[in-house]
């Protein structure tokens, strides 16, 4: 799950599916369906679960799944199904925002390194190496320890910790694109360096990063959930999958549904995002070759 590994698969000698322009596979359809369902849950949770995710009813605590409560009720009698649905927005938002922060930061670092001259390249590469030396999750933990827990902090923390991986890829891509024929042509034609960077280098260098980002969203959701699980992410009573998992764990022997359903949601989301990312990756590679 570490960033270098992802980079390796993307640019190493991974398998190439020989299905240029092929129709959607069953796996892709399922993944897409899950992601669409999640998007719906995130955008209009009231449509899927009209209840209030924070409404307590202590007398109805620890009820097993039933028609009335398809995922059961938690220790305070809150409806687990409603909480899982309403947690989607929170989890998805953290995943997307964190990836956006990571890629944004990486774009700056990577571009500076690739085109900013030797001194800047040296500086950004060293910063990157230092950040790489710390495992991503640890970096996020350090950040939260300094700034304090909360949704915003968690998002920034996860974004920060994924940035080094993206930055390294962007830098190497820019370096490769810079040596390509069309860039040389642009230079010969007398275009300014900013024009060349903006019009030729970045669009060509960054496209594959967006494919990686699809993979990254799944990872970011898992990380954000891990942080909430450790009590460092969202604060109670917010419905967030990792936090729900953590709150339900003490009762695992009496109420399995408290952990199973948010756990399944995390697995389904991360797996679908990753599966989509991978197929997107192999499709774009097909088109490029």
């Amino acid at each position: 799950m570490t960033a270098p590994e992802t980079a390796g698969t993307a640019y190493g000698t991974a398998h190439v599916a020989a299905r240029p322009g092929a129709r959607l596979t069953a796996g892709e359809v399922i993944s897409l369906a899950v992601i669409l369902l999640l998007a719906a849950a995130a955008l209009v949770p009231q449509l899927l679960a009209p209840g209030d995710p924070l409404a307590i009813s202590p007398t109805e605590a620890f009820q097993a799944p039933s028609w009335q409560h398809p995922f059961g009720t938690d220790e305070s009698g809150r409806d687990v199904y409603t909480r899982v649905v309403h947690g989607a927005g929170q989890s998805l938002l953290i995943g997307l925002a964190a990836t956006a922060i990571g890629i944004g930061l990486a774009l700056v670092l990577g571009t500076l390194g690739a085109v900013g001259g030797r001194a800047l390249d040296f500086a950004t590469t060293r910063i990157n190496e230092v950040l790489f030396a710390l495992p991503g999750l640890l970096l996020a933990l350090v950040f939260i320890a300094i700034v304090g827990p909360g949704v915003t902090t968690t998002t920034i923390a996860v974004g920060l910790s994924t940035a080094p991986g993206y930055a390294r890829i962007i830098r190497s891509r820019i370096l490769a694109v810079r040596r390509s024929g069309y860039v040389e042509a642009a230079v010969v034609l007398g275009h300014g360096p900013l024009t060349i960077l903006g019009r030729h280098i970045l669009p060509n260098a960054v496209a594959p990063v967006f494919v990686l980002a699809t993979l990254g969203v799944g990872q970011a959701i898992v990380w954000a959930s891990s942080l909430s699980y450790l009590g460092l992410g969202v604060v109670p009573p917010a419905a967030e999958w990792g936090a729900m998992l953590s709150a339900g764990r003490p009762y695992i022997s009496v109420a399995w549904w408290l952990t199973v359903f948010p756990g399944l949601a995390i697995v389904a989301t991360a797996a679908s995002a990753t599966a989509l990312g991978r197929s997107l990756q192999s499709r774009t590679r097909q088109e490029q070759s």
Partner: protein, 545 residues
């Protein structure tokens, strides 16, 4: 030691044969002879202390451990009577200002230093020394003004005012007696390896993991209610820190550990039904589990807002559902084991309409888009730092329910789960409106520690016990008078009046009794909780395996 189980089988076998021969239908004998030897593994869910010397700071995790290696001047039996322990006898002067304690003359600390009057004086001086940064012990010996060694084993203690709680205070582990030679080594060393007279000795403390305690072979100072004489049966105790309740319980179920504390209510409910795991319930003396409302700052400086909060907070259903019937709702600031406890359910009727009316009257008339009340552009926000080391998950869920029910009246409760040191930090900085802090002290004098205005001033450790920030001269006078009187009836009346001031002023939302629960496996015998502050003692414990 290896041979012990076989011996046991022989004894058990012959007993069985005998009962068969006698034609007796009784069950197999359970009162077997204790077996010496073996290592008991204890897994605690309380926080790992930052210092093993209970004088420093003075919290419950320290008391749990210290009970194994440090002993007190007096103890208590199950009926609450004071028993001699390291002190053989004592007498109080008629004016209550002077006490003379006669110590046992045959006891030595485990480093060889003899127990003398000077040693006890050095311990009290250590508690009072600001450098020690004591809190619990410091407050408990607050009235001791001077000490004189009358002879080698007689200590005279002079007080600034009579102290009806002195013997109770001396029974607590936080006022335990340590080797003066060991204390002189300095705090860093003494925190690592404190030296007492107890049945076990601290051998090694591996941080984040556990403490190894080995048997004191020369032990001779068991309290009067002990079940045997001579050194402890167990050869050693492996004391492990396993903060996670589910993991701790799983370790007990699998036999990896022998005893656990702080079980989840659902595990506790299951354990009492099942065979192999036995529960020991030991109610803690002192205060009940309660939420203090900080009257020292807005918005709780207004009694109407405090009452509105208490009227809006619904806790009964939560306690019933979350604790699986293992605890009962409390309407008192004192633990139910304290005879002076005053229970006033009438102050705690939940009434949302009344809460709304009170908030309107207090000027919190507007509500914002989220339904929270607003006054002069300020939201009705209540900060609630929660110590995740001290509040079990069920209690944290109860706080979430209080958050949800008080929201209906327009309160925004912000729960902040914190580790112990950040939590102490938040309290020291007065960054709280609500707080739930356990406080254990033997006897009703805990009321003076918790609600006398003197306790708003931090002890040397930085902790102040009066978290409700109650500063009421009338209450102060009652508590002072109660702690100075020896007339039990008058004392009870004074404490009742004092509790009524605290409760009727809506300074506290009592939740449930403070209870210690221990679960142990089927081969642990003879374990009990000391009646003083309900910490476990393993002096009489042995392993039937």
């Amino acid at each position: 030691m290896r041979r012990a189980p076989r011996t046991l089988t022989v004894i058990g076998g012959s007993a069985l044969t005998l009962s068969l021969l006698a034609g007796c239908a009784a069950a197999a004998p359970t009162s077997e002879e204790p077996v010496a030897g073996g290592t008991l593994i204890y897994a605690t869910g309380d926080a790992e202390p930052s210092c093993l010397d209970p004088h420093v700071g003075g919290n419950y995790p320290q008391a749990l451990l210290a009970t194994q290696y440090i002993e007190s001047l007096v103890s208590k039996n199950a009926d609450g009577d004071i028993l001699p322990w390291l002190a053989e006898s004592w007498k109080e002067s008629d004016d209550g200002l002077s006490w003379e304690f006669t110590l046992r003359d045959d006891v030595s600390f485990t480093d060889g230093t003899p127990l003398t009057a000077d040693a006890v004086a050095a311990n009290i001086a250590h508690l009072k020394d600001p450098q020690t940064a004591s809190s619990t012990g410091y407050l408990a010996v607050g009235k001791i003004e001077s000490m004189t060694s009358v002879d080698e084993h007689t200590l005279r203690i002079d007080l600034s005012a009579p102290d009806s709680a002195l013997l109770d205070s001396f029974s607590m582990p936080w006022v335990g007696i340590q080797s003066p030679t060991a204390l002189e080594r300095g705090q860093d060393v003494n925190c690592e390896s404190p030296v007492g007279t107890g049945p076990f000795i601290v051998e090694e403390w591996t941080r984040q993991q556990g403490v190894r305690l080995v048997r004191n072979e020369d032990y001779n100072s068991w309290p009067g209610d002990a079940a045997h004489e001579g050194p402890a049966w167990l050869e050693a105790i492996d004391w492990r820190f396993i903060p996670d309740a589910a993991t701790r319980y799983a370790a007990l179920q699998s036999g990896e550990v022998d005893v656990i504390d702080n079980p989840q209510p659902n595990s506790l409910a299951a354990a009492t039904e099942d065979g192999p795991i036995t529960a020991i319930a030991a109610p803690r003396p002192g205060a009940s589990n309660r939420i203090e409302l900080n009257a020292g700052k807005a918005p709780f400086d207004d009694e109407r807002v405090r009452e509105a909060f208490i009227r809006a907070a619904e806790v009964n259903d939560g306690i019933e559902g979350l604790f699986f019937g293992t605890v009962a709702r409390s309407y008192s600031v004192l633990s139910s084991v304290e005879a002076e406890s005053l229970s006033t359910p009438e102050y705690f009727d939940v009434d949302l309409d009344a809460a709304n009316a009170l908030l309107d009257a207090a000027g919190w008339t507007q509500r914002d888009a989220d339904g929270y009340r607003v006054k002069d552009g300020q939201r009705l926000v209540l900060e609630f730092p929660v110590s995740t080391n001290q509040s079990v998950p069920a209690e944290q869920s109860l706080f979430e329910q209080i958050q949800a029910t008080t929201k209906q009246a327009g309160f925004q409760v912000i729960l902040e789960p914190l580790d112990l040191s950040s939590w102490y930090g938040a309290l020291a900085a007065h960054e709280y409106n609500l707080v739930s802090a356990p406080y254990t002290k033997v006897g009703p004098d805990v009321l003076r520690i918790l609600y006398h205005s003197d306790s708003t001033v931090p002890a040397p450790s930085g902790y102040f016990a009066n978290l409700a920030q109650l500063k009421d001269p009338k209450l102060d006078a009652l508590l002072t008078q109660a702690s100075e009187t020896t007339d039990a009836t008058l004392r009870a009346e004074l404490y009742e009046e004092a509790q009524d001031i605290v409760l009727s002023g809506y300074h506290v939302l009592p939740l449930y009794d403070q209870q210690n629960h221990y679960l142990h496996g089927e081969d642990v015998e003879g374990m009990r909780a000391l009646p003083t502050v309900s910490t476990p003692t393993f002096f009489d414990a042995w392993l039937a395996r």
